[in-house]
């Protein structure tokens, strides 16, 4: 069961979006999120919906995956929508009054805006991880944060930690599986009992897992030292990220759409 977890949810492909420079993708995704808040009107959000759908088609990622990535946050979406419907007050007469609760037109408008916004944020950021492998994303984060290393921010260390984490996640999952089986063979009841009992039953799984993780860390550190690891200073990279001509065009196109989203505020009174 643990083996089914895929981290980062990457769907390899060969589209323009898959091959795009990850730094550009990362920055554009951030700008996109900001623009979703700047453009607080139906036209702007309409454009953003069209943009997201268009990009999913471009990346050949099935649209039903949007639904899948939204599933865990449906409660949050409903909660925010309900709160907005009931608690945003307007100047006109309430549309419906249920005792002390009043529903105004503004409330409904606002709830719809918020819901669309959240869906767009999730769909947009999921698209980033769908089309970018975690390794490439790590490299992009390292390069984008590099200026911060002048301020003594440990950029290289952070990136190395992310790489090692990504490397060891499948290993530790496999190990958890093994330990669970070993404890089951000794009669541990991991799948039954009350919640409390099940949590308690996990302790004999977690302790060996931690001990082995520390042992691995120790050995890995030694192996890294043996291969001349001495921090980020003077390091070169096998693969350097490069913006291709296509990436530039995609970026320009995205910026144009973002500007349109921003301008929509002036069109909508």
């Amino acid at each position: 069961m643990l083996r089914d977890i895929t981290i980062g949810q990457h769907f390899p492909g060969d589209s323009a979006l898959h091959n795009m420079d990850p730094r550009a993708k990362l920055v554009l995704t951030l700008v996109y999120i900001i623009m979703l808040f700047v453009a607080s009107n139906p036209i702007g959000l309409g454009i953003s919906i069209v943009l997201v759908f268009g990009l999913y088609l471009l990346a050949k990622i099935p649209l039903r995956l949007i639904g899948k990535s939204l599933k865990p946050i449906i409660p949050i979406i409903l909660f925010t929508a309900v709160l907005n419907v009931f608690f945003v007050t307007g100047e006109s007469e309430p549309l419906v009054s249920l005792g002390f609760l009043h529903i105004y037109r503004e409330g409904i408008d606002y709830a719809v805006l918020i819901v669309v916004r959240i869906i767009c944020i999730i769909a947009g950021t999921s698209l980033l991880t769908y089309t970018t492998s975690p390794i490439v994303l790590t490299a992009a984060i390292e390069q984008l944060l590099r200026p911060l290393s002048k301020l003594k921010f440990p950029v290289h260390e952070l990136a190395m930690m992310m790489t090692i984490a990504l490397r060891f996640i499948p290993l530790l999952i496999e190990e958890t599986d093994k330990i669970m089986n070993a404890q089951k063979a000794r009669g541990a009841q991991l799948d039954s009992g009350t919640l409390m009992q099940r949590v308690k039953a996990l302790i004999p799984v977690l302790i060996p897992l931690f001990i082995s993780a520390f042992r691995r860390a120790d050995e890995l550190a030694m192996a890294m030292e043996c291969r001349c690891y001495h921090g980020g200073e003077g390091r070169t990279r096998l693969k350097e990220l490069r913006m291709s001509g296509k990436d530039v065009w995609l970026t320009v196109a995205a910026v144009v759409v973002f500007v349109a989203m921003g301008m929509s505020n002036f069109l909508w009174k």
């Binding site: 790489t163 290993l171 496999e174 050995e219 890995l220 192996a223 291969r227 001349c228």
Partner: protein, 289 residues
């Protein structure tokens, strides 16, 4: 100086203990490894052989005595990177020595650390992967490979540094027979074709039998030393150290004891077969035995 030119590794009167109060893990050990030599180090668990291996690239420093890598004493901190580049280490568990999430990036790890320019790095990484026979897996994730393949990735990651010496610390212990054979084949090829000195710490007597020289350790000291033939012909002495001899040597020894005289320097299955053939038929065996 001339002497140093021939010597890859040298340990002189090395003493090491892990804690102040504990006993000596290495207890006044001296040995030399010549350039291009293939040395196997044997010994029961806890005899200090892994500790010795870690002295050979300055992971551990002796409490007293000196270890030299070529002419550099391992205490020379300014030349640490140079020493680590000269002597590559491969450990037992391949999972715990692979850093990156893609094979070729892991092979490049050491070169990235050394600041090798990208064009040169690309070609050294490709060379190392070819030498270790893992070129076709270069874009795979390490956790999707078998144990033997992973260990060869680890070896490629080390030989990309173009080391003069390879220290294998029970590098085949966790592998299945096929993985082990492939790794051994790779290591022998590196020794034979590229002149890389090999120090192999192992529990497998069949592996030790293929070395140029065997060193047997016990309680932090060297107790036996010589060619595999010289060492393994002393079946009783080796067994007294809680070690095995290669099965061929053991069989010949048992036959001799049972009253069937056999040559006492047999260590390979083919030699054993030839010797038995000769005893049974009284004729020299045909070539293809």
């Amino acid at each position: 100086m001339n002497e140093h030119a021939q010597t890859m590794l040298e340990a002189k009167d090395v003493v090491f203990r892990y804690s102040e109060t504990g006993s000596n893990a290495i207890d006044g050990l001296s040995m030399q490894v010549k350039k291009g030599e293939y040395v196997a180090v044997l010994g029961a668990n806890g005899c200090g052989k892994s500790t010795l291996a870690k002295h050979f690239n300055a992971i551990l420093l002796p409490a007293s005595g000196t270890v030299w890598i070529e002419e550099i004493p391992t205490t020379d901190e300014d030349r640490l990177m140079e020493m680590r580049q000269k002597v590559g280490m491969v450990f037992q568990n391949p999972d715990n020595q692979i850093v990156a999430t893609v094979v070729e990036e892991d092979v490049a790890f050491a070169l990235e650390n050394l600041g090798v320019p990208r064009d040169e790095m690309r070609c050294r990484v490709d060379d190392a992967m070819q030498m270790a026979g893992i070129y076709k897996y270069r874009e795979k994730a390490p956790h999707k490979l078998s144990g033997g393949q992973k260990q060869r990735v680890a070896i490629a990651g080390v030989i990309a540094m173009r080391p003069d010496c390879l220290v294998l610390d029970e590098a085949t212990a966790m592998l299945d027979p096929i993985g082990r054979e492939k790794v051994m084949h790779t290591v022998h090829k590196l020794n034979r074709d590229y002149g890389i000195t090999v120090v192999q710490i192992t529990h497998y007597m069949e592996e030790a039998a293929t070395a140029d020289r065997v060193v047997v350790m016990s309680a932090g000291r060297i107790v036996m030393e010589g060619t595999p033939r010289q060492v393994f012909s002393q079946v009783e002495a080796v067994k007294a150290l809680h070690l095995d001899v290669p099965q061929s040597a053991e069989l010949c020894h048992a036959l001799t004891q049972a009253g069937l005289p056999m040559p006492d320097d047999v260590i390979r299955p083919e030699e054993c077969a030839a010797a038995i053939y000769k005893t049974l038929t009284g004729k020299e065996p045909p070539r293809d035995v």
